[in-house]
Amino acid sequence: EAGVAQSPRYKIIEKRQSVAFWCNPISGHATLYWYQQILGQGPKLLIQFQNNGVVDDSQLPKDRFSAERLKGVDSTLKIQPAKLEDSAVYLCASSPSGRPYNEQFFGPGTRLTVL
């Protein structure tokens, strides 16, 4: 079974530039998550999708971050414009639906460096 795919794996940009990350979840997983993991910290949820609808985006900085999952499969996360403090690893995860407290399967992440 293929895991969660993410691209790119690494990205270096200058502050105020824009960047986009892509995620393809495990086939059949209805729930998709984007996390931000700053060095030395645990992952922090940015947004959760159930199929193509947003379940939770309470911690998404909506003035600069946006995400979509138009067809309920793959998803993109965009930052525009980037700030220095956005330097982090952006992790995508997916989980099946149908029962509570599902385990989450994480992708390899995209390491973003903002200069």
Partner: protein, 112 residues
């Protein structure tokens, strides 16, 4: 929100020694999940505990959920170099669906 703290933040052990990390909450938790993240890697699910006082074992790893469902522990017997990484506890906040809130993590280093 329901914050979970982990202690210790770092732990260095000699190979063969035991290791324990603790996850503590001031409020009752619905569940606990444990994840392992290798250096440069991504979190990988290890186990989930749901019942009060639950104990689960995976080879050298023993996971416990407290009777009051406010704390949990992960114990590794006779550590190996393959155990190196950061161990995170996580839980689903009450009413939060399948959203996960992660603890602060314990970084384990194992020396030969």
């Amino acid at each position: 929100g329901q914050q979970v703290m982990q202690i210790p933040q770092y732990q260095h052990v000699q190979e063969g020694e035991d290791f324990t990390t603790y996850c503590n909450s001031s409020t009752t938790l619905s569940n606990i999940q444990w994840y392992k993240q290798r250096p440069g890697g991504h979190p990988v699910f290890l186990i989930q505990l749901v019942k009060s006082g639950e104990v689960k074992k995976q080879k050298r790893l023993t996971f416990q959920f407290g009777e009051a469902k406010k704390n949990s522990s992960l114990h590794i017997t006779a550590t190996q170099t393959t155990d190196v990484g950061t161990y995170f506890c996580a839980h689903n906040p009450t009413g939060g669906g399948n959203k996960l809130t992660f603890g602060t993590g314990t970084q384990l280093k194992v020396e030969l």
